[in-house]
């Protein structure tokens, strides 16, 4: 659905995007992650036809974003990181204004606006002027605006910033709902753990280059630390270490206070043999706890935190 080929964007001597290649499948939620200044916003602006790349191409639904501007805009809902609101319009008027801007038939507008207000939980605010909304509500209004013309592709630049925890969960539900409706969603965020649960695909960008691209499972595999297991035992953990370290399946064992952290040498999932080995070695187990690789860890490991 979204295809980026060798995309490069330079601001003077600064290279914000450096021969970026990226493909997003139809119906996927793509999580776009990167440190500050990595080039996320720049990529999204190019996709939203608002910024001309220095070189390279980008396609949405097979349409070149630099050549087929209007067709692309029909298919894309773009929510910028900082969004302007007209301070003298009311919430309902604001949405209707954009409905009109998308050339939606006048008779249908009312219904559509009511619909997106409902979806974003803003119905009670429809008489308020836009600038009297709180930051989080303005953010929701931005989401509502993006949905107004029922685009196939949503490009959301940090949509969850400024939202309270409940609203974050609601946004997550909303995104999943939209995915069920068949939309392709590209979303950038700093709240990594949030993306982890809803994204089909993750892209990690740093200094204009994609350092990783794949599913969560692929990230885990890629990191070679597929399963990290925390084992707590009664008594001296050193004894458990002695039992476990000679075993061929074990990659490494380290001691942290009273607990051991075990990784496997091959990518296997099953940790049943651990308990058996320990019990046979006469060691009492308090708990065996598989640690999931969090996106935050992957993020920290894959990026070097160098600010562009």
């Amino acid at each position: 659905m979204i295809e980026i080929k060798q995309l490069t964007k330079q601001y003077g001597s600064l290279t914000a995007l450096d021969h970026l290649d990226l493909t997003i499948k139809e119906g996927d939620i793509f999580g776009y992650i990167g440190p500050n200044g990595a080039g996320k916003t720049t990529t999204m602006r190019v996709l939203a036809t608002l910024l001309d790349p220095t070189s390279g191409q980008a396609f949405i639904d097979g349409l070149d974003v630099t050549k087929k501007g209007n067709e692309v805009r029909c298919r894309v809902g773009y929510m910028p990181d900082f969004m302007g609101v007209y301070d003298d319009l009311k919430v309902f008027e604001y949405l209707e204004f954009f409905a009109a801007a998308f050339k939606i038939d006048r008779k249908k507008r009312q219904g559509i606006v009511e619909g997106v207000l409902e979806l974003t939980d803003l119905t009670s605010k429809k008489h308020f002027t836009v600038d009297s909304l709180s930051r989080g509500m303005q953010q929701r209004l931005g989401l509502a605006r993006v949905l107004i013309h029922d685009p196939k592709v949503l490009i959301l630049d940090e949509p969850a910033s400024g939202l309270d925890p409940r609203a974050r969960i609601e946004v997550r539900e909303l995104l999943l709902e939209l995915k069920r409706m068949g939309k392709t969603i590209m979303i950038s965020s700093h709240i990594l753990s949030e993306l982890e649960e809803i994204c089909d695909q993750i892209g990690i960008i740093e200094r204009g280059k994609l350092v990783f691209d794949g599913t969560m499972d692929e990230i885990r595999k890629h990191m070679g630390v597929h399963s990290r297991i925390k084992v707590e035992v009664i008594g001296d953990p050193q004894r458990a270490l002695d039992v476990l370290s000679p075993m061929p399946q074990i990659g490494s064992v380290t001691i942290e206070q009273r607990a051991l952290t075990v990784t496997f040498s091959d990518g296997q999932e099953n940790n049943g043999f651990l308990a058996k080995a320990l019990v046979q070695g006469g060691i009492d187990i308090v708990s065996i706890e598989p640690q999931k690789l969090k996106l935050d860890d992957a993020f920290l490991e894959l990026t070097k935190g160098i600010v562009n």
Partner: protein, 582 residues
């Protein structure tokens, strides 16, 4: 020395970090260097024109020596007036963003949380800009020194004129800064400050003179005004320096008193500003527009204040047309206009009582003033059209929709037209009334005015939208849209006359060009169309036309300006999508 003493003596309490910041930023801006180059270039050009027209070679030595002295006086006069006008204009523009800029960038609230105090903010802003203006004054000093060699120019005059200019600059700068606390948009600050200066310098003296003259025999009110009005002060100074006999009273230290008065007035304005800055900051922290509009209507009872309107037609035009015409300050604007209407009616009454109502000169004067007013607003308003979208960060959102560039352009065009038309109401009302009043304005002249106005309006809107598309900030767009007519209608004609003078050829072409300037046309129309009994004879600098011929000529020039306006608008449309994020 005690540290506090050193602080105070070192001027730190007046300037501080804000002053440093402003200087640092201004040295990074290319436009400040352009400004200096432009200033010197313009001054040099004007001087060479004066030089050329006063000093003509080929006469006897004795004659040319006295000519030299004469030229010297004229050139010094020119430099002094040039400085006087440009410094004040620049002070108004430079300080128009002083406080509103900080509010706009949401930095004023942050500044208030630091140990920087209001005094330092106000004076830091004022002094850093003044320093640049002083620099401009300084670069023309060598010129003054050279010209003094011609003789006949006392140093005292140069010093006094500079002091008057400087104190006037401080005053208008303080005025602009003062307005920038209350008004969010810097172009509004510029307009309001210009109007205030116009009223203070010209309207009040003229009106007072009129009133005083009609009731008493007192004829020396210029003397009074030369104390409180820098314009008069400079005229007066020039008179008693170069032709002492023409002034009935003695000069002496009068200029010092004048500068003292101006500085005291500035100090009062600044003191008031210092007191209000904190409030402005608090408003900004409390949330921009919501707090700036303390009416309870919007927040508490939003549902009752105004029903929701349905979008119809082109959405951009709909949005432009539903925002209130005069904005938040409509009551202020309305009451001010009504207040100005009273002296205006008195002026009309006076002109009528003196029997000048069917005199072409009174109509030329009225039309000139009203044209100026209309042009002022028509230059400013369209230039805000696109930059205001950029400044509120809604421009990318708008361009992300499928709305066509053409529709945006037309929407903005109609919006600008709607908002600047009311500035033409005085002119159109004047012309209409005196046309219907039989025997005063010839109907052809009235039609002509209508043509001239429509051409001007389309021209300014087109160029305004273009500059607005080019610029990031509204103020830049507004200034550019002022520079265009200044170039086209002031500088180019001047250059033309200068060139023909140099080449000793006929200046027919230059005159024909001047004839196409709307402002000149409107005045020539009045001259030729008042009173009706004289028939319609249009006597422009070049064009001599009778009757309906005028209309044909005006249709041609109007369509020319209309075409230029459309060309600009079209270029604007082509550039919409370039550099959206600055």
């Amino acid at each position: 020395m005690h540290p506090t003493m050193r602080h105070i003596l070192g001027g730190f309490w007046l300037t501080g970090p804000i002053f440093d910041k402003e200087l640092r930023v201004s040295s990074r801006r290319r436009r400040n260097y352009l400004l200096r180059v432009g200033y010197i270039a313009l001054l040099a050009l004007l001087l060479s024109v004066v030089w050329d027209s006063t000093v003509v070679s080929g006469y006897s030595d004795a004659y040319s020596v006295s000519r030299m002295a004469r030229a010297g006086q004229e050139m010094v006069g020119l430099i002094v007036w040039f400085q006087f006008v440009t410094c004040q204009l620049l002070a108004i523009v430079m300080l128009s963003t002083a406080i509103s800029g900080e509010v706009y960038h949401r930095t004023l609230g942050v500044l208030m949380t630091t140990p920087i105090n209001s005094l330092q903010i106000v004076f830091g802003k004022l002094f850093s800009k003044l320093l640049q203006l002083i620099l401009l004054l300084a670069i023309s000093l060598p010129l003054l020194a050279i010209i003094r060699v011609f003789g006949g120019i006392p140093w005292g005059f140069v010093v006094q004129a500079l002091t008057i200019t400087l104190s006037a600059t401080v005053f208008v700068g303080a005025l602009s800064l003062f307005y920038s606390i209350y008004l969010r948009r810097s172009y509004v600050v510029i307009i309001v400050a210009l109007i205030t200066v116009g009223v203070l310098y010209l309207f009040i003296p003229a009106f007072a003179a009129l009133v005083v003259q009609s009731f008493t025999n007192y004829r020396n009110f210029e003397q009074f005004f030369s104390y409180v009005n820098p314009f008069f002060a400079l005229v007066f100074l020039q008179q008693y320096t170069f032709s002492p006999g023409s002034v009935p009273w003695q000069g002496g230290h009068h200029w010092l008193v004048h500068c003292g008065i101006m500085l005291a007035a500035s100090a009062a304005l600044l003191a008031w500003s210092v007191a209000r800055v904190r409030l402005a900051a608090l408003k900004q922290i409390a949330g921009g527009a919501a707090a700036a509009q303390p009416s309870k209507k919007t927040s508490a009872e939003p549902a009752l204040s105004r029903p929701i309107e349905s979008v119809h037609g082109c959405p951009i035009r709909w949005k432009e047309f539903r925002s209130p015409l005069l904005g938040r300050y409509r009551w202020l604007v309305l009451s001010m206009s009504l207040l100005l209407l009273i002296p205006l009616l008195i002026v009309y009454g006076y002109v009528g009582a003196e029997g000048h109502l069917d005199d072409e000169f009174s109509h030329m004067a009225f039309v000139a003033v009203y044209m100026g007013l209309g042009m002022l607003f028509t230059v400013v308003i369209p230039a805000t059209g696109i930059t205001s979208e950029k400044e509120s960060q809604s421009w990318p959102v708008l361009l992300g929709t499928t709305i066509g560039d053409g529709a945006i352009l037309m929407g903005k065009f109609w919006g600008a037209l709607r908002r600047c038309l009311w500035a033409w109401v005085p002119l159109l009302a004047h012309v209409l009334i005196f046309t219907l009043w039989p025997g005063i304005i010839h109907p052809i002249a009235a039609l002509g005015i209508l043509l001239v106005v429509s051409g001007t309006v389309i021209f300014h809107i087109g160029s305004g939208l273009y500059f607005s598309t080019l610029s990031k900030r509204t103020t830049t767009a507004v200034v550019l849209n002022f520079i265009l007519p200044a170039l086209m209608w002031l500088l180019i004609p001047m250059l033309m006359f200068f060139a023909t003078e140099l080449a000793h050829t006929s200046n027919n072409f230059a005159e024909a060009y001047v004839d196409s300037i709307p402002f000149i046309q409107s005045i020539a129309l009045m001259e030729g169309g008042v009173p009706v009994s004289g028939g319609m004879r249009y006597r422009g600098p070049y064009m001599k036309l009778n009757g309906v011929e005028v209309l044909f000529y005006l249709v041609v020039t109007t369509s020319m300006y209309g075409a230029i306006g459309c060309l600009f608008a079209w270029r604007a449309k082509c550039r919409f999508r370039k550099n959206i994020f600055g």
